[in-house]
Protein backbone atom coordinates (compact mmCIF):
# COMPACT_ATOMS: atom_id res chain seq x y z
CA UNK A 1 0.00 0.00 0.00
CA UNK A 2 2.74 2.47 0.88
CA UNK A 3 4.79 2.21 -2.30
CA UNK A 4 6.98 5.15 -3.16
CA UNK A 5 4.44 6.75 -5.51
CA UNK A 6 1.83 6.80 -2.79
CA UNK A 7 4.20 8.19 -0.22
CA UNK A 8 4.50 11.36 -2.25
CA UNK A 9 0.85 12.15 -1.86
CA UNK A 10 0.32 14.55 1.05
CA UNK A 11 -2.81 12.65 1.95
CA UNK A 12 -0.96 9.41 2.57
CA UNK A 13 1.71 11.21 4.51
CA UNK A 14 -0.92 12.87 6.65
CA UNK A 15 -2.56 9.54 7.33
CA UNK A 16 0.71 8.00 8.44
CA UNK A 17 1.44 10.94 10.73
CA UNK A 18 -2.05 10.88 12.20
CA UNK A 19 -2.52 7.15 12.59
CA UNK A 20 -0.70 6.37 15.88
CA UNK A 21 -2.19 9.22 17.90
CA UNK A 22 -5.66 9.04 16.43
CA UNK A 23 -5.68 5.25 16.59
CA UNK A 24 -4.86 5.12 20.28
CA UNK A 25 -7.21 8.01 20.99
CA UNK A 26 -10.13 6.48 19.13
CA UNK A 27 -9.75 3.00 20.57
CA UNK A 28 -8.84 3.82 24.17
CA UNK A 29 -10.58 7.15 24.76
CA UNK A 30 -13.48 7.54 22.34
CA UNK A 31 -14.64 3.96 22.22
CA UNK A 32 -14.94 3.63 26.04
CA UNK A 33 -17.10 6.74 25.98
CA UNK A 34 -19.46 5.11 23.49
CA UNK A 35 -19.29 1.83 25.36
CA UNK A 36 -20.27 3.48 28.64
CA UNK A 37 -23.47 4.67 26.99
CA UNK A 38 -24.19 1.20 25.61
CA UNK A 39 -23.47 -0.43 28.96
CA UNK A 40 -25.84 1.92 30.72
CA UNK A 41 -28.72 0.27 28.86
CA UNK A 42 -27.59 -3.26 29.71
CA UNK A 43 -27.48 -5.61 32.66
CA UNK A 44 -23.99 -7.00 33.09
CA UNK A 45 -21.71 -8.18 35.89
CA UNK A 46 -18.52 -7.55 33.93
CA UNK A 47 -17.46 -11.17 33.84
CA UNK A 48 -19.91 -13.39 31.95
CA UNK A 49 -20.52 -13.15 28.21
CA UNK A 50 -24.17 -12.43 28.92
CA UNK A 51 -25.03 -8.79 28.41
CA UNK A 52 -28.80 -8.52 28.52
CA UNK A 53 -30.67 -5.49 27.23
CA UNK A 54 -32.23 -3.60 30.12
CA UNK A 55 -33.81 -0.57 28.51
CA UNK A 56 -34.04 2.28 30.99
CA UNK A 57 -34.01 0.04 34.07
CA UNK A 58 -30.57 1.18 35.22
CA UNK A 59 -31.56 4.82 35.03
CA UNK A 60 -34.84 4.14 36.77
CA UNK A 61 -32.92 2.37 39.53
CA UNK A 62 -30.30 5.05 40.14
CA UNK A 63 -32.83 7.88 40.06
CA UNK A 64 -35.55 6.32 42.21
CA UNK A 65 -34.24 3.32 44.19
CA UNK A 66 -30.56 3.94 44.73
CA UNK A 67 -30.24 5.44 48.24
CA UNK A 68 -26.79 6.84 47.46
CA UNK A 69 -27.13 8.40 44.00
CA UNK A 70 -28.74 11.67 45.08
CA UNK A 71 -26.42 11.96 48.06
CA UNK A 72 -23.49 11.65 45.68
CA UNK A 73 -25.15 14.07 43.29
CA UNK A 74 -25.64 16.65 46.02
CA UNK A 75 -22.09 16.27 47.27
CA UNK A 76 -20.75 16.67 43.75
CA UNK A 77 -22.85 19.80 43.37
CA UNK A 78 -21.62 21.28 46.66
CA UNK A 79 -18.07 20.31 45.75
CA UNK A 80 -18.32 21.93 42.32
CA UNK A 81 -19.80 25.16 43.64
CA UNK A 82 -17.10 25.37 46.29
CA UNK A 83 -14.29 24.63 43.83
CA UNK A 84 -15.53 27.24 41.40
CA UNK A 85 -15.54 29.86 44.15
CA UNK A 86 -12.70 29.27 46.58
CA UNK A 87 -9.56 28.05 44.81
CA UNK A 88 -9.96 30.58 41.94
CA UNK A 89 -10.64 33.38 44.40
CA UNK A 90 -7.58 32.62 46.53
CA UNK A 91 -5.60 32.06 43.33
CA UNK A 92 -6.62 35.46 42.01
CA UNK A 93 -5.68 37.20 45.26
CA UNK A 94 -2.28 35.48 45.30
CA UNK A 95 -1.71 36.32 41.65
CA UNK A 96 -2.57 39.96 42.21
CA UNK A 97 -0.17 40.09 45.14
CA UNK A 98 2.63 38.20 43.46
CA UNK A 99 2.32 40.29 40.32
CA UNK A 100 3.78 43.22 42.28
CA UNK A 101 7.55 43.48 42.38
CA UNK A 102 8.04 41.99 45.82
CA UNK A 103 11.02 40.48 47.56
CA UNK A 104 11.25 36.70 46.96
CA UNK A 105 8.12 36.61 44.85
CA UNK A 106 9.60 33.86 42.67
CA UNK A 107 10.14 31.65 45.70
CA UNK A 108 6.63 32.33 46.96
CA UNK A 109 5.13 31.52 43.57
CA UNK A 110 7.06 28.25 43.58
CA UNK A 111 5.78 27.39 47.06
CA UNK A 112 2.15 28.02 46.14
CA UNK A 113 2.47 25.95 42.99
CA UNK A 114 4.33 23.05 44.62
CA UNK A 115 1.23 21.12 45.81
CA UNK A 116 -0.15 21.09 42.25
CA UNK A 117 2.55 18.71 41.05
CA UNK A 118 2.05 16.19 43.84
CA UNK A 119 0.01 13.06 43.18
CA UNK A 120 -3.57 13.63 44.42
CA UNK A 121 -3.38 10.24 46.07
CA UNK A 122 -0.32 11.38 48.01
CA UNK A 123 -2.15 14.57 48.99
CA UNK A 124 -4.96 12.39 50.26
CA UNK A 125 -2.55 10.28 52.29
CA UNK A 126 -0.76 13.34 53.66
CA UNK A 127 -3.93 15.06 54.74
CA UNK A 128 -5.45 11.94 56.17
CA UNK A 129 -2.48 11.76 58.45
CA UNK A 130 -2.66 15.46 59.26
CA UNK A 131 -6.33 15.01 60.16
CA UNK A 132 -5.49 12.07 62.43
CA UNK A 133 -7.58 12.66 65.58
CA UNK A 134 -4.74 11.74 67.97
CA UNK A 135 -1.35 12.65 66.56
CA UNK A 136 -2.30 14.57 63.44
CA UNK A 137 -1.12 18.09 62.77
CA UNK A 138 -4.44 19.85 63.18
CA UNK A 139 -5.41 18.59 66.57
CA UNK A 140 -1.84 19.01 67.83
CA UNK A 141 -1.68 22.62 66.71
CA UNK A 142 -5.11 23.33 68.15
CA UNK A 143 -4.07 21.88 71.47
CA UNK A 144 -0.96 24.07 71.39
CA UNK A 145 -3.13 27.14 70.96
CA UNK A 146 -5.57 26.08 73.66
CA UNK A 147 -8.35 25.43 71.20
CA UNK A 148 -9.21 21.93 72.41
CA UNK A 149 -12.90 22.75 72.19
CA UNK A 150 -12.62 23.03 68.41
CA UNK A 151 -10.98 19.64 67.94
CA UNK A 152 -12.86 17.41 65.56
CA UNK A 153 -12.68 13.98 64.11
CA UNK A 154 -12.10 15.77 60.81
CA UNK A 155 -12.71 12.85 58.49
CA UNK A 156 -14.83 10.72 60.81
CA UNK A 157 -17.63 13.19 61.40
CA UNK A 158 -20.22 13.08 58.62
CA UNK A 159 -21.07 16.76 58.97
CA UNK A 160 -17.45 17.84 58.62
CA UNK A 161 -15.73 15.27 56.40
CA UNK A 162 -16.68 16.76 53.01
CA UNK A 163 -15.38 20.17 54.02
CA UNK A 164 -12.21 18.75 55.54
CA UNK A 165 -11.58 17.04 52.23
CA UNK A 166 -12.24 20.26 50.39
CA UNK A 167 -9.61 22.11 52.42
CA UNK A 168 -7.02 19.60 51.22
CA UNK A 169 -8.30 20.01 47.66
CA UNK A 170 -8.00 23.80 47.93
CA UNK A 171 -4.48 23.54 49.28
CA UNK A 172 -3.53 21.47 46.25
CA UNK A 173 -5.31 23.47 43.54
CA UNK A 174 -4.90 27.14 44.42
CA UNK A 175 -1.52 27.22 42.67
CA UNK A 176 -3.09 26.17 39.40
CA UNK A 177 -5.54 29.09 39.32
CA UNK A 178 -2.77 31.38 40.49
CA UNK A 179 -0.52 30.53 37.56
CA UNK A 180 -3.31 31.04 35.04
CA UNK A 181 -4.21 34.39 36.59
CA UNK A 182 -0.56 35.45 36.64
CA UNK A 183 -0.39 34.71 32.92
CA UNK A 184 -3.62 36.63 32.39
CA UNK A 185 -2.25 39.60 34.33
CA UNK A 186 0.60 39.91 31.84
CA UNK A 187 -2.00 40.96 29.29
CA UNK A 188 -3.15 43.89 31.41
CA UNK A 189 -1.99 47.06 29.73
CA UNK A 190 0.70 48.62 31.95
CA UNK A 191 0.37 52.07 30.39
CA UNK A 192 -3.36 52.03 31.02
CA UNK A 193 -2.76 51.26 34.71
CA UNK A 194 -0.19 54.02 34.99
CA UNK A 195 -2.38 56.53 33.18
CA UNK A 196 -5.23 55.75 35.56
CA UNK A 197 -2.94 56.18 38.57
CA UNK A 198 -1.69 59.53 37.31
CA UNK A 199 -5.28 60.63 36.84
CA UNK A 200 -5.74 59.96 40.53
CA UNK A 201 -7.57 56.65 40.44
CA UNK A 202 -7.33 54.65 43.65
CA UNK A 203 -5.92 51.11 43.69
CA UNK A 204 -9.42 49.75 43.96
CA UNK A 205 -10.62 51.80 41.01
CA UNK A 206 -7.70 50.62 38.89
CA UNK A 207 -8.46 47.04 39.84
CA UNK A 208 -12.17 47.40 39.23
CA UNK A 209 -12.03 49.28 35.92
CA UNK A 210 -8.73 48.23 34.33
CA UNK A 211 -7.44 44.95 35.73
CA UNK A 212 -10.69 43.08 36.23
CA UNK A 213 -12.08 43.67 32.71
CA UNK A 214 -8.74 42.55 31.25
CA UNK A 215 -8.98 39.33 33.24
CA UNK A 216 -12.40 38.35 31.97
CA UNK A 217 -11.13 35.76 29.50
CA UNK A 218 -8.77 34.22 32.05
CA UNK A 219 -11.59 34.16 34.57
CA UNK A 220 -13.82 32.19 32.22
CA UNK A 221 -11.04 29.70 31.49
CA UNK A 222 -10.22 29.22 35.17
CA UNK A 223 -13.86 28.73 36.10
CA UNK A 224 -14.52 26.20 33.33
CA UNK A 225 -11.36 24.24 34.10
CA UNK A 226 -12.20 24.26 37.82
CA UNK A 227 -15.70 22.99 37.10
CA UNK A 228 -14.43 20.15 34.94
CA UNK A 229 -11.74 19.12 37.39
CA UNK A 230 -14.17 19.20 40.31
CA UNK A 231 -16.70 17.01 38.51
CA UNK A 232 -14.10 14.30 38.09
CA UNK A 233 -12.91 14.33 41.71
CA UNK A 234 -11.92 10.74 42.33
CA UNK A 235 -8.39 10.19 43.64
CA UNK A 236 -8.81 12.43 46.65
CA UNK A 237 -12.11 10.81 47.65
CA UNK A 238 -10.77 7.30 47.17
CA UNK A 239 -7.63 8.07 49.13
CA UNK A 240 -9.09 10.10 51.96
CA UNK A 241 -12.45 8.65 52.88
CA UNK A 242 -13.53 6.14 50.27
CA UNK A 243 -16.85 8.00 50.24
CA UNK A 244 -17.56 7.56 53.94
CA UNK A 245 -18.44 8.00 56.72
CA UNK A 246 -22.00 6.95 55.91
CA UNK A 247 -21.62 8.12 52.27
CA UNK A 248 -21.21 11.69 53.48
CA UNK A 249 -18.31 12.28 51.06
CA UNK A 250 -19.61 10.09 48.27
CA UNK A 251 -19.42 11.67 44.81
CA UNK A 252 -20.60 10.69 41.36
CA UNK A 253 -17.27 9.59 39.86
CA UNK A 254 -16.50 7.53 42.95
CA UNK A 255 -19.98 6.03 43.13
CA UNK A 256 -19.88 5.03 39.45
CA UNK A 257 -16.57 3.31 40.11
CA UNK A 258 -17.93 1.57 43.20
CA UNK A 259 -21.02 0.26 41.39
CA UNK A 260 -19.02 -1.09 38.45
CA UNK A 261 -15.71 -2.22 39.87
CA UNK A 262 -16.67 -3.24 43.41
CA UNK A 263 -20.33 -4.22 43.29
CA UNK A 264 -19.86 -5.50 39.71
CA UNK A 265 -23.01 -3.92 38.40
CA UNK A 266 -21.64 -2.43 35.18
CA UNK A 267 -25.07 -1.32 33.98
CA UNK A 268 -25.85 0.86 36.97
CA UNK A 269 -22.30 2.09 37.25
CA UNK A 270 -22.36 3.13 33.61
CA UNK A 271 -25.72 4.86 34.01
CA UNK A 272 -24.18 6.96 36.79
CA UNK A 273 -21.21 7.69 34.55
CA UNK A 274 -23.49 8.80 31.73
CA UNK A 275 -25.26 11.31 33.96
CA UNK A 276 -21.88 12.70 34.98
CA UNK A 277 -20.78 12.76 31.36
CA UNK A 278 -23.88 14.74 30.38
CA UNK A 279 -23.27 17.27 33.13
CA UNK A 280 -19.68 17.66 31.95
CA UNK A 281 -20.76 18.09 28.33
CA UNK A 282 -23.21 20.78 29.37
CA UNK A 283 -20.17 22.76 30.53
CA UNK A 284 -17.67 21.71 27.88
CA UNK A 285 -19.64 22.19 24.67
CA UNK A 286 -20.56 25.86 25.24
CA UNK A 287 -16.99 26.47 26.37
CA UNK A 288 -15.46 24.95 23.24
CA UNK A 289 -17.83 27.01 21.10
CA UNK A 290 -16.89 30.14 23.00
CA UNK A 291 -13.16 29.53 22.68
CA UNK A 292 -13.46 28.71 18.99
CA UNK A 293 -15.30 31.99 18.39
CA UNK A 294 -12.58 33.78 20.32
CA UNK A 295 -9.87 32.13 18.21
CA UNK A 296 -11.60 33.15 15.01
CA UNK A 297 -12.09 36.67 16.25
CA UNK A 298 -8.39 36.85 17.07
CA UNK A 299 -7.40 35.96 13.53
Amino acid sequence: MFNSANLHSPRTQALILLAPALGAYTIFAVWPMIEVVILSFQRWNGLTADRAWAGLDNYRYIFTDDPVYWVAFNNTLIWTVMSVIFPPMVGLLLALGLNEKLFARGTMRAIYYLPVIIAPIAVATMWRWMYDPFFGLFNQVMTDFGLQSLIQDWLGDRDVALYSMFVAFTWQNVGFSMVLFLAGLQSVDRSLVEAARIDGASRWQVFRHVTLPALQVTMTIVIVLSTISSLKAFDIVYGMTGGGPAQSTQMLAMWAFTQSMQIFDFGRGSAISVTLLLITLAVVVPYLRWSQKREEAAR
Binding site: Y25, M33, E100, A119, M126, M130, L288
Partner: protein
Amino acid sequence: MTTVSMVQLEEEIVRPRRDPLLIALWVALFAVALIWIAPFVFISFTALKTGNEIMTTNAFAPPRVVAWDNFSGAWVKGNFSTTFFNSVIITVIKVPLGLMFSAMAAYALARIRLRWNKLLLVFVLFGAMIPFQVMLAPLFTLVNSLGLIDTYIGIILPYLAFGVPYQVFILHGFFKAVPKELSEAALIDGASHFTTFRRIFLPISLPVLAALLILDFVATWNEFAMALVLLQDKNMWTLPLGLMSFQGQFSNNYGQLNAAIVMTVLPAVIVYLIFQRYFVSGLTSGAVKG
Protein backbone atom coordinates in the same frame (compact mmCIF):
# COMPACT_ATOMS: atom_id res chain seq x y z
CA MET B 1 19.12 34.10 53.98
CA THR B 2 22.15 34.66 51.81
CA THR B 3 23.87 38.00 51.66
CA VAL B 4 22.67 38.52 48.10
CA SER B 5 19.05 38.29 49.08
CA MET B 6 19.62 40.58 52.04
CA VAL B 7 20.96 43.19 49.64
CA GLN B 8 17.92 42.72 47.46
CA LEU B 9 15.71 43.11 50.49
CA GLU B 10 17.42 46.38 51.43
CA GLU B 11 17.00 47.66 47.91
CA GLU B 12 13.34 46.86 47.96
CA ILE B 13 12.83 48.61 51.25
CA VAL B 14 15.07 51.62 50.73
CA ARG B 15 13.59 52.26 47.31
CA PRO B 16 12.02 55.76 47.16
CA ARG B 17 8.49 54.51 46.46
CA ARG B 18 8.36 52.45 49.61
CA ASP B 19 4.74 51.76 50.17
CA PRO B 20 3.22 50.62 53.49
CA LEU B 21 0.53 48.78 51.58
CA LEU B 22 3.13 46.75 49.68
CA ILE B 23 4.89 45.84 52.91
CA ALA B 24 1.62 44.68 54.45
CA LEU B 25 0.92 42.71 51.28
CA TRP B 26 4.32 41.07 51.46
CA VAL B 27 3.84 40.11 55.10
CA ALA B 28 0.44 38.59 54.30
CA LEU B 29 1.75 36.65 51.29
CA PHE B 30 4.71 35.42 53.29
CA ALA B 31 2.51 34.25 56.16
CA VAL B 32 0.22 32.35 53.81
CA ALA B 33 3.24 30.83 52.07
CA LEU B 34 4.38 29.53 55.47
CA ILE B 35 1.00 27.87 55.94
CA TRP B 36 1.23 26.43 52.43
CA ILE B 37 4.59 24.85 53.05
CA ALA B 38 3.81 23.69 56.61
CA PRO B 39 2.36 20.31 55.54
CA PHE B 40 5.62 19.47 53.74
CA VAL B 41 7.64 20.34 56.83
CA PHE B 42 5.36 18.32 59.06
CA ILE B 43 5.47 15.27 56.77
CA SER B 44 9.25 15.42 56.36
CA PHE B 45 9.86 15.79 60.10
CA THR B 46 7.49 12.97 60.96
CA ALA B 47 9.20 10.75 58.39
CA LEU B 48 12.45 11.23 60.28
CA LYS B 49 11.14 10.65 63.80
CA THR B 50 10.87 7.49 65.82
CA GLY B 51 7.40 6.38 66.84
CA ASN B 52 7.99 7.48 70.39
CA GLU B 53 9.14 10.93 69.36
CA ILE B 54 6.11 11.44 67.11
CA MET B 55 3.81 10.94 70.06
CA THR B 56 5.74 13.06 72.53
CA THR B 57 7.21 15.99 70.62
CA ASN B 58 5.67 19.01 68.95
CA ALA B 59 4.57 18.66 65.34
CA PHE B 60 7.09 21.20 64.07
CA ALA B 61 9.96 20.24 66.34
CA PRO B 62 12.82 18.87 64.24
CA PRO B 63 13.66 15.22 64.95
CA ARG B 64 16.12 14.79 67.84
CA VAL B 65 17.45 11.48 66.61
CA VAL B 66 17.15 11.10 62.85
CA ALA B 67 15.36 7.81 62.19
CA TRP B 68 16.56 7.00 58.68
CA ASP B 69 15.40 3.44 59.11
CA ASN B 70 11.81 4.65 58.56
CA PHE B 71 12.77 4.93 54.91
CA SER B 72 14.41 1.53 54.58
CA GLY B 73 11.58 -0.05 56.55
CA ALA B 74 8.90 1.52 54.39
CA TRP B 75 10.84 0.70 51.22
CA VAL B 76 10.83 -3.01 52.06
CA LYS B 77 7.32 -3.25 53.55
CA GLY B 78 5.72 -1.17 50.82
CA ASN B 79 7.38 -3.19 48.08
CA PHE B 80 8.82 0.05 46.75
CA SER B 81 11.50 -1.57 44.63
CA THR B 82 8.75 -3.14 42.50
CA THR B 83 6.39 -0.18 42.33
CA PHE B 84 9.21 2.28 41.72
CA PHE B 85 10.51 0.12 38.88
CA ASN B 86 7.06 -0.18 37.31
CA SER B 87 6.46 3.56 37.53
CA VAL B 88 9.83 4.26 35.90
CA ILE B 89 9.25 1.77 33.05
CA ILE B 90 5.76 3.05 32.29
CA THR B 91 6.74 6.72 32.47
CA VAL B 92 9.94 6.34 30.47
CA ILE B 93 8.15 4.55 27.62
CA LYS B 94 4.88 6.45 27.65
CA VAL B 95 6.00 10.05 27.91
CA PRO B 96 8.41 10.35 24.92
CA LEU B 97 6.33 8.03 22.75
CA GLY B 98 3.11 9.89 23.44
CA LEU B 99 4.73 13.23 22.77
CA MET B 100 6.13 11.95 19.47
CA PHE B 101 2.72 10.71 18.34
CA SER B 102 1.05 13.94 19.40
CA ALA B 103 3.63 16.04 17.58
CA MET B 104 3.19 14.01 14.38
CA ALA B 105 -0.58 14.34 14.53
CA ALA B 106 -0.43 18.03 15.39
CA TYR B 107 1.88 18.66 12.43
CA ALA B 108 -0.45 16.86 10.03
CA LEU B 109 -3.47 18.74 11.32
CA ALA B 110 -1.74 22.11 11.21
CA ARG B 111 0.35 21.94 8.05
CA ILE B 112 -1.10 19.42 5.59
CA ARG B 113 -4.21 20.61 3.84
CA LEU B 114 -6.91 18.01 4.17
CA ARG B 115 -10.62 18.28 3.72
CA TRP B 116 -11.48 17.05 7.21
CA ASN B 117 -8.75 18.90 9.11
CA LYS B 118 -11.02 21.07 11.16
CA LEU B 119 -13.41 18.29 12.02
CA LEU B 120 -10.56 16.04 13.16
CA LEU B 121 -9.15 18.81 15.31
CA VAL B 122 -12.46 19.34 17.08
CA PHE B 123 -12.77 15.57 17.49
CA VAL B 124 -9.39 15.43 19.22
CA LEU B 125 -9.80 18.59 21.32
CA PHE B 126 -13.09 17.32 22.63
CA GLY B 127 -11.19 14.56 24.42
CA ALA B 128 -9.14 17.06 26.42
CA MET B 129 -12.28 18.03 28.28
CA ILE B 130 -13.77 14.61 28.93
CA PRO B 131 -12.94 13.07 32.29
CA PHE B 132 -11.61 9.53 31.97
CA GLN B 133 -12.83 8.95 35.52
CA VAL B 134 -16.23 8.47 33.90
CA MET B 135 -14.97 5.64 31.72
CA LEU B 136 -13.06 3.45 34.15
CA ALA B 137 -15.44 0.51 33.80
CA PRO B 138 -15.56 0.37 29.98
CA LEU B 139 -11.81 0.93 29.91
CA PHE B 140 -11.38 -2.09 32.12
CA THR B 141 -13.73 -4.07 29.89
CA LEU B 142 -11.81 -3.08 26.77
CA VAL B 143 -8.34 -3.77 28.12
CA ASN B 144 -9.59 -7.01 29.64
CA SER B 145 -11.06 -8.20 26.34
CA LEU B 146 -7.68 -7.57 24.71
CA GLY B 147 -6.06 -9.70 27.43
CA LEU B 148 -3.88 -6.78 28.52
CA ILE B 149 -4.83 -6.38 32.18
CA ASP B 150 -1.66 -6.37 34.34
CA THR B 151 0.66 -5.63 31.43
CA TYR B 152 2.76 -2.55 30.73
CA ILE B 153 1.27 -2.16 27.28
CA GLY B 154 -2.24 -2.44 28.69
CA ILE B 155 -1.72 0.70 30.77
CA ILE B 156 0.56 2.57 28.36
CA LEU B 157 -1.98 2.52 25.52
CA PRO B 158 -4.78 4.20 27.50
CA TYR B 159 -2.25 6.66 28.95
CA LEU B 160 -1.21 7.52 25.38
CA ALA B 161 -4.83 7.93 24.33
CA PHE B 162 -5.69 10.34 27.13
CA GLY B 163 -2.48 12.32 26.71
CA VAL B 164 -3.05 13.02 23.02
CA PRO B 165 -5.77 15.72 23.13
CA TYR B 166 -4.04 18.28 25.33
CA GLN B 167 -0.67 17.85 23.63
CA VAL B 168 -2.15 18.05 20.14
CA PHE B 169 -4.03 21.15 21.21
CA ILE B 170 -0.87 22.93 22.36
CA LEU B 171 1.37 21.77 19.50
CA HIS B 172 -1.25 22.49 16.85
CA GLY B 173 -1.42 26.07 18.03
CA PHE B 174 2.36 26.29 17.91
CA PHE B 175 2.82 24.69 14.47
CA LYS B 176 0.02 26.78 13.03
CA ALA B 177 1.90 29.93 13.96
CA VAL B 178 5.11 28.91 12.15
CA PRO B 179 5.60 31.16 9.09
CA LYS B 180 4.60 29.50 5.82
CA GLU B 181 7.88 30.39 4.08
CA LEU B 182 9.81 28.13 6.39
CA SER B 183 8.05 24.93 5.44
CA GLU B 184 7.18 25.79 1.85
CA ALA B 185 10.80 26.27 0.91
CA ALA B 186 11.56 22.77 2.11
CA LEU B 187 8.54 21.24 0.44
CA ILE B 188 9.34 22.90 -2.90
CA ASP B 189 12.84 21.45 -2.66
CA GLY B 190 11.13 18.10 -2.81
CA ALA B 191 11.30 17.17 0.85
CA SER B 192 8.45 15.01 2.11
CA HIS B 193 6.29 16.05 5.01
CA PHE B 194 8.20 13.57 7.15
CA THR B 195 11.47 15.34 6.44
CA THR B 196 9.96 18.79 6.91
CA PHE B 197 8.49 17.70 10.20
CA ARG B 198 11.71 16.18 11.45
CA ARG B 199 14.20 18.72 10.13
CA ILE B 200 12.26 21.94 10.62
CA PHE B 201 9.29 21.59 12.92
CA LEU B 202 10.72 19.35 15.62
CA PRO B 203 13.84 21.47 16.19
CA ILE B 204 11.98 24.77 16.43
CA SER B 205 9.39 23.36 18.81
CA LEU B 206 11.93 22.02 21.31
CA PRO B 207 10.99 24.48 24.10
CA VAL B 208 7.31 23.58 23.79
CA LEU B 209 8.14 19.89 23.63
CA ALA B 210 10.28 20.21 26.75
CA ALA B 211 7.44 21.90 28.63
CA LEU B 212 4.97 19.22 27.55
CA LEU B 213 7.45 16.49 28.42
CA ILE B 214 7.80 17.75 31.98
CA LEU B 215 4.06 18.22 32.47
CA ASP B 216 3.34 14.78 31.09
CA PHE B 217 6.03 13.20 33.21
CA VAL B 218 4.36 14.49 36.35
CA ALA B 219 0.86 13.56 35.17
CA THR B 220 1.92 10.02 34.28
CA TRP B 221 3.96 9.58 37.45
CA ASN B 222 0.98 10.66 39.56
CA GLU B 223 -1.82 8.86 37.73
CA PHE B 224 -3.91 6.72 40.04
CA ALA B 225 -7.46 5.95 38.87
CA MET B 226 -6.64 4.13 35.62
CA ALA B 227 -3.81 2.22 37.24
CA LEU B 228 -6.18 1.16 40.01
CA VAL B 229 -8.51 -0.43 37.47
CA LEU B 230 -6.00 -1.80 34.95
CA LEU B 231 -3.26 -3.08 37.25
CA GLN B 232 -4.69 -5.63 39.64
CA ASP B 233 -1.59 -7.70 40.28
CA LYS B 234 0.54 -6.41 43.15
CA ASN B 235 3.69 -6.95 41.14
CA MET B 236 2.49 -4.61 38.41
CA TRP B 237 1.48 -1.76 40.71
CA THR B 238 2.81 1.75 40.26
CA LEU B 239 3.96 4.04 43.10
CA PRO B 240 0.56 5.67 43.79
CA LEU B 241 -1.07 2.25 44.11
CA GLY B 242 1.72 1.11 46.39
CA LEU B 243 1.30 4.17 48.60
CA MET B 244 -2.45 3.63 48.82
CA SER B 245 -1.99 0.04 49.90
CA PHE B 246 0.70 1.06 52.37
CA GLN B 247 -1.70 3.52 53.93
CA GLY B 248 -4.28 0.78 54.26
CA GLN B 249 -1.96 -1.71 55.94
CA PHE B 250 0.47 0.30 58.01
CA SER B 251 -1.37 3.51 58.80
CA ASN B 252 -0.41 3.16 62.47
CA ASN B 253 3.29 3.20 61.78
CA TYR B 254 3.35 6.96 61.37
CA GLY B 255 7.08 7.29 60.80
CA GLN B 256 7.15 4.78 57.97
CA LEU B 257 3.89 6.03 56.48
CA ASN B 258 5.35 9.51 56.17
CA ALA B 259 8.60 8.10 54.78
CA ALA B 260 6.50 6.33 52.14
CA ILE B 261 4.76 9.61 51.28
CA VAL B 262 8.09 11.40 50.95
CA MET B 263 9.53 8.71 48.69
CA THR B 264 6.46 8.77 46.42
CA VAL B 265 6.37 12.53 46.12
CA LEU B 266 10.09 13.29 45.92
CA PRO B 267 10.79 12.48 42.23
CA ALA B 268 8.04 14.84 41.05
CA VAL B 269 9.19 17.54 43.47
CA ILE B 270 12.78 17.28 42.25
CA VAL B 271 11.72 17.46 38.61
CA TYR B 272 9.57 20.46 39.47
CA LEU B 273 12.34 22.29 41.28
CA ILE B 274 14.76 21.73 38.40
CA PHE B 275 12.40 22.54 35.53
CA GLN B 276 10.16 25.08 37.25
CA ARG B 277 9.84 27.54 34.40
CA TYR B 278 8.67 24.83 31.99
CA PHE B 279 5.64 24.11 34.14
CA VAL B 280 4.37 27.61 33.87
CA SER B 281 5.06 27.96 30.16
CA GLY B 282 3.56 24.56 29.41
CA LEU B 283 0.38 25.33 31.29
CA THR B 284 -0.19 28.85 30.14
CA SER B 285 0.77 28.55 26.49
CA GLY B 286 -2.38 26.56 25.93
CA ALA B 287 -4.89 27.99 28.31
CA VAL B 288 -4.29 31.71 28.23
CA LYS B 289 -3.31 33.59 25.15
CA GLY B 290 -3.16 37.35 25.38
